[in-house]
Symmetry: C2
């Protein structure tokens, strides 16, 4: 047991300073964060930047393979990456529940620092609020991030056209099943761990190497692959055909999904991306992805078509076609 | 009564899209937000930028003169301004409680849009999570912001030296007393309203007009004026003397503070700044501040000294000197 976090740790005075100095600054230390001046300052080159934010409210806050801090860094790093940006700087806003054990906070902060290091980003500014017991569930984190978009990178739904391949960088459902299993006290096989990972190390080089052969990248988090594909089919006004047999789902994850009635196509992933690529580049891009830890199971799961614009069809194992809509009623709340 | 916010409104699927399209996008609409692509993209000039974040957990969420949305925009605009930056783009992360009335959300969003307009910033990217009833208290908001720092602007604690004047741009305690009065159901005089305001319209021109005559700006939010002065005395290694009689506190606010035992020097303000300025510029800067709505009561409250480095002394009305420390135990939790 560490120290008990109290309301005064969020009042902006002496106790707030102590909280920062004991549990946060030793881990996040970098030259830009040091001045504690209600903001960070840095120099940028002329060009395009991306800016994104996400709040994290996952429950429980620790689960096989990760915790809320891992999600908070990787999620925002990945959103920047999906914008074609090189992630650079992150902000971090904590909302803590009175009575939280400081060991929990420090464990989360330590993970955030490790993930930031892996992703090559700096956590440069932050804020901590403490609310009374019951006014928040343990710890919520918001991260925002900025990064520069290298010259020549232009990805977006408007670049998606008919006759492109759809690549998925790995298996579905691992994160959602790992979190749900912990939440409901199931005994899960050790193989089921969150896929949460920073994807910039794998994808930024792919973008720069393959240039405009990559039209769009998206990470299928909340709403899952089905929701992302439906959004893109609508925005790009193309039809998308997915081969169910090609979609990778780990055996143990599939078994849990089968038992609980989850459809992996709608489950949140935290370390996967969908790429829309020109067909002539598919093989080479897959080869490149396979060389990276996070892309070993990358596979082409389908393609875009001029017909059936705005629709996503799933070719089932039995040869039928099922239309995929966006996620409607929730399968798994508070998954990230 | 509007629609009831449900958990599915945060699941990233169809209901999340509806929530965005009904209650948020119509108010925040701008060309950068439009693509809904998990992030915004914009072009920047080469130079220095500031980046800051704050989470807002104020209770109650509506109070005389404002609401949590007003705080969320003004607070981040002001933090950027205090960095010497011209605020440009804001992110916005909502955490909503299941069962929230959509009218509440829309009212907050409408206020945010109005404040963003006044401050000349765009809310360009966001995120909405919904947690089950009881896992958050109504609505929490995180905003992060970026802005560019004009060439030649260099303010910071290291610029503060002995023999500078300390300017306060207006009266203390209005925000904290307005929120506390509402929280505890006091009948307050109509004169007591939050001072929450975006300060860039007043202060950015002062910085550009008076250049390096302004050494530092800080907004005395959580922890109040006393905490900010103590931080700066320590960081700049100067002594600071404040004349109690010069510190403006509105009569009705002072009466409430007297009754409840609050010290206005430790109360949070949301539309005030402290400026450390070269003495020869004080008169002109005050004259300039007085011309702006938010600076009409600006006044010089004290000065820096070479002696007593790291200490802040308050010259009381009776002629004694009281040392001011940072805020210790809390007077007013969840004030912003």
């Amino acid at each position: 047991m560490g120290e008990v976090i109290r309301l005064v740790h969020g009042n902006g005075g002496r106790f707030s300073h102590e909280l920062m100095e004991r549990y946060i600054l030793p881990h996040f230390t970098n030259s830009l964060l040091a001045p504690l001046h209600d903001g960070a300052q840095f120099t940028v080159k002329a060009g395009r930047m991306a800016f994104t934010t996400d709040s994290y409210v996952v429950t429980p806050q620790f689960f096989p393979g990760g915790n809320i801090g891992k999600l908070a860094v990787c999620g925002t790093v990945n959103d920047l990456t999906m914008n074609g940006a090189v992630p650079q700087y992150l902000s971090c806003g904590f909302i803590l529940e009175e009575g939280l054990d400081s060991d929990v906070l420090e464990s989360v902060v330590t993970t955030m620092a490790a993930m930031a290091k892996e992703a090559g980003v700096q956590i440069v500014t932050g804020d901590t609020k403490v609310v009374e017991k019951g006014a928040v569930d343990g710890i919520y984190i918001n991260t925002a991030g900025v990064g520069y978009i290298p010259e020549g990178i232009a990805i977006g739904p408007d670049r998606v056209t008919a006759d492109m391949d759809v690549i998925l960088t790995g298996s579905l459902g691992d994160h959602a099943v790992a979190v749900m299993g912990t939440r409901y006290g199931f005994t899960l096989p050790d193989s089921i761990v969150t896929d949460c990972a920073p994807l910039n190390g794998m994808l930024t080089p792919v973008l720069s190497e393959f240039g405009d052969a990559v039209a769009l990248m998206r990470d299928p988090t909340r709403g899952g692959v089905a929701t992302v594909l439906q959004e893109i089919a609508t925005q790009a006004q193309v039809g998308i055909r997915v081969r169910e047999a090609a979609v990778p789902v780990h055996e143990d994850v599939a078994a849990v999904c089968h038992m609980l009635g989850y459809d992996p196509l709608y489950l949140a992933n935290e370390g996967k991306a969908i790429l829309f690529v020109k067909k002539e580049a598919t093989e080479e891009i897959l080869h490149r992805l396979h060389q990276h830890t996070y892309g070993r199971e990358a596979v082409c799961i389908g393609e875009t078509m001029a017909k059936n614009a705005g629709k996503v069809g799933l070719e089932t194992a039995l040869g039928g076609v099922r239309l995929l809509d966006m996620l409607g009623e929730d399968q798994v709340p508070r998954i990230c």
